[in-house]
Symmetry: C2
Subunit: 203 residues, 2 copies
DNA sequence: GAATTTAGCAAACGATCGTTCGTAATCTAT
DNA sequence: ATAGATTACGAACGATCGTTTGCTAAATTC
């Protein structure tokens, strides 16, 4: 078969490719992602796959972008409507934990894996990973500051420290779930996150 | 040149290969490790490289084993002589942080990277990674229990919870250093580790 | 309805992957 | 000194890598 798809349908094809790429890269890594593998999975030719992106690196970037979109939808969107402050910060933590448990990415947190995979290689993929983390960090720290300003957290609270700990705990939870299948990890992570924020675990 | 090395020297060759493999895999991952690349770096033939291991998987296992040995030497050996308990637990944390800062692995913590890379693929490499983490976890938890027994920590202290948090913070520190070059991360990690243990940061 | 653009395929490109084979050089053991 | 193991090499294996090139057939534009 040859190109019997309309321009709109071609966009769909591109989305199908990216959707599959996210799944594959989630377990095999962005570098382990392969055009031939993708073509086989989708019953397409290699040229048909790469044609939508031009280059493997741009395919990786598109895949990363989609993963960031999914993360945003899973973790940020559910809490976006809450007012900035402690309540939303706690909701973020719970959504974060739920996301890591959800199995949306079969190979575990995509961004975490990508950050480890590309932390030593320069290039646009690494740059995008960094930008993604910085954006997420800014969102979390904003709520910490709002909670401090509202008197919900002690004035001495350091937003950067809270972010550091929450992010570390999320990564640690991801490892515990993916590598060890530790079923107690989510509750441990929640407890530690509450403590990192400076709020009783009874919350 | 052809094989003009004695049996003893051949062991040296093997060690040289593994030493180089640790460096390469530290940045490119155990899967990104390539026999041809290794042969080029060492001015050897591919057959000469793989001949010492038989299989790439066994080369990966030897590389992983060496990385575990290095980690043990860097983090455990300096504190092994201390008596079990709170003092050694705190020393472990400091040695751990120092190790992550040391740049022994140019691409960051080898075990962390390997755990992310292989957390979705069955096989002996993944099994060895898990065993390495379990062994390290047992060592840390042992000191937590000893500290509790000695009355240095509250009786309600949960060793598994402490391990979970310390490990997460170490991974988070590794990411902050490698991906973001965050120079404040080590002091943040140290502070959080002290708090996870349940000891004042002034210690 | 004719001309142009586009989606996707089949095939091939050189490069590299992990692995195997035969062979020469060296070491070890008799 | 001679025989047998090793060590490592060069060369080749089939497979797969990312990418490029023509081509066909459908969709779009004029």
């Amino acid at each position: 078969m040859s190109p019997r798809r309309s321009a709109a349908a071609a966009l769909e094809t591109r989305e199908e490719i990216v959707a599959r790429a996210v799944v594959v890269a989630s377990t095999d890594g962005l570098e382990g992602l392969t055009i031939g593998r993708l073509a086989g999975d989708l019953s397409m030719s290699k040229a048909g796959v790469i044609g939508h992106f031009g280059t493997k690196e741009r395919l990786q970037l598109a895949t990363l972008e989609e993963a960031i979109t999914i993360f945003t939808r899973e973790v940020w969107a559910p809490v976006a409507d809450l007012p900035a402050g402690l309540e939303r910060l706690l909701a973020i933590c719970d959504a974060w934990i739920a996301h890591l448990q959800s199995g949306v990415f079969p190979g575990g947190c995509f961004l975490t894996a990508a950050s480890m995979e590309f932390d030593g290689r320069a290039g646009p993929v690494r740059d995008r990973v960094i930008a993604g983390f910085e954006q997420w960090r800014a969102a979390v720290e904003r709520d910490v500051r709002a909670a401090v300003k509202a008197g919900q957290l002690p004035a001495a609270t350091d937003p950067a420290q809270v972010w550091f700990e929450l992010n570390a705990l999320a990564i640690g939870l991801n490892q515990a779930l993916q590598l060890l299948g530790d079923e107690e990890a989510p509750v441990r992570a929640r407890r530690a996150m509450r403590r990192a924020i400076g709020v009783g675990a009874a919350e």
